[in-house]
Assembly symmetry: D2
Homo-oligomer: 187 residues x 4
């Protein structure tokens, strides 16, 4: 069973990115994957900013990334790019930390004017980490994410839900296919 | 006299970016400017990552940016882009925090393969902050920066020094010209 | 009097980009500039694609760019970037063809999702051409441009017109200031 | 047997990009694929620049792209991005012309300073065309490509050949795996 790590990188306590990450994790679990979510904002700030990989919690998440078959990278768009919070984590990873992995990039933002941040800002950074396969991602408009009182996704507007679920399912299928391929005896 | 703020955004204690920032500050002071350097790594980590602009030290640097006529943005290249440390600071600024300002982007990195991170990664973020004029910047190879024991620039290889000083002088002249222009009575 | 060249790079005969280029040229003329428009689609196709700078019409436009104080670069967005037509012209220019010039980038497109193509795709290419000062540009939504029967701009929706005129006026003022500056005896 | 189309987009008659395209085509044929090369510069210039998809040769190459399982996109780097010649062809394709396809981007250029043009300039455009899987690509330094008198690759420097062959083989394996997957009865 492929294992997936969801890196959710909003600095806000009440975060649409976090709600959406949870929502995607549920869908991926239903698709038969083992899924773990990491809120980057819960990592120790000083160690994160200093890139201190000897700190226990940082070392743990670095290990989880290394062990995952698939990684979902979810971030809000700030100032025409991914969050600085996300980048502080990516900065301390080994150069080819995503080698051999399938990666799904997901961004959230308040304006459709930020859509291209996914392909022009986030994807090049994920490429530089040696990702084997970055599947097509999706940018979800904040106003399409309705939340419950406890911060879960209550409803996703269909114009965001449909294309988002499509890329999530491509990610899921890609992981499953790799898993099957790996299980086939080669001789 | 134009005032300049140098934002130096390496997470390392022994940093070539910091040494270079100091070196540029000295040159700009000799050019008649009032220059202040801010090491982003000295800001309080938790407040920086949470985007807490009510925290005293964060509020102070936000105020310094608002007051500056020119801003030098210096960062190492990590994972094909600027440092996450830099982006955490830029993320918490008001949307048009660089409006009306002249900005000089400077990157340092270990390989010439990262040169385009300046124009493809850093400059779009500075543009989104409403910078009035982002002058041409420069990417300095780490190995061209020789340091003294106490972390100052001992020597800059000429193939980096020449084009770097050129963009610094364009930045300096642009600031001085704006300052003169502002002083001229309009009626 | 500063001279401006408008490079208008839509491949279509009935082009919103061309209508908008004309409209901006009129505004710039009213601002006291000498303005010439070049429709890139009227250049000889074979010479353009082959980068043949000895061809008369190509040589002429290369000379016009060299002689201009300011250049407006206007293109539709296709496939998340500027038009190929525009890039074929930029490709055949000398490496620092925009050195010393003020440049205004303007894009048109059918969806707000393409806004960031200006800063992530077009601006890095203009930077690589050595532009002295690329002022903030603007992305105009196709549906905000109403045209007359003969292809002129009949009306620009205010939500596009206001920010567009602002960047055009910054471009105009920047050119005028440089012109004045150049006229001052240095003694 | 997966079919591959190589789009080779240098405007030069004596082109390193074309020599390299040929070289890669040979390797892919040895890997069991059916490979066809298209030199974009041989397409009719006027139709290409006007985006005239009714022109016979243009219609033919559009059909070849539609029919291919894999597409290699090879271009020199000019002005910090792919060639305008390449973009004129991509511009006239249907919006999702690369949907369902595996794509390998390859750039050539005279300086390592242009490496990031692959991930920051070319890949976002290929993404916008709906490519199913853009595998990691490679940037080959011009001076690593030695040619024979008749324009073939005589020798590739090992520091370019090794990583280039790796991405080509990943591309080849990805295509073969998809082909096998498609052949497996789902029952």
């Amino acid at each position: 069973m492929p294992s997936i790590l969801v890196l959710s990188a909003s600095p806000s306590i009440e975060s649409r990115t976090a709600a959406l990450s949870d929502h995607l994790a549920q869908r991926l679990r239903q698709g038969g994957h083992q899924v773990r979510i990491r809120l980057v904002r819960e990592l120790p700030p000083a160690a994160l900013l200093a890139g201190d990989v000897t700190e226990a919690a940082i070392a743990e998440v670095v290990g989880e990334i290394a062990a995952a078959d698939g990684v979902v990278v979810a971030s809000p768009v700030f100032k025409a790019a991914y969050s600085g919070l996300l980048k502080t984590l990516l900065d301390l990873l080994p150069q080819f930390a995503l080698a051999g992995k399938v990666v799904l990039p997901v961004l959230t933002g308040g304006s459709p004017a930020h859509v291209l941040a996914l392909d022009y800002a986030l994807r090049p950074v994920l490429s530089s980490l040696g990702a084997h396969h970055i599947v097509p991602g999706w940018f979800v408009l904040d106003q399409h994410i309705e939340r419950t009182a406890d911060g879960q996704v209550a409803h996703l507007q269909p114009e965001s839900a449909k294309p988002l679920y499509e890329v999530v399912d491509v990610f899921s299928d890609t992981l499953s296919a790799r898993s099957l391929g790996a299980a086939v005896p080669v001789s």
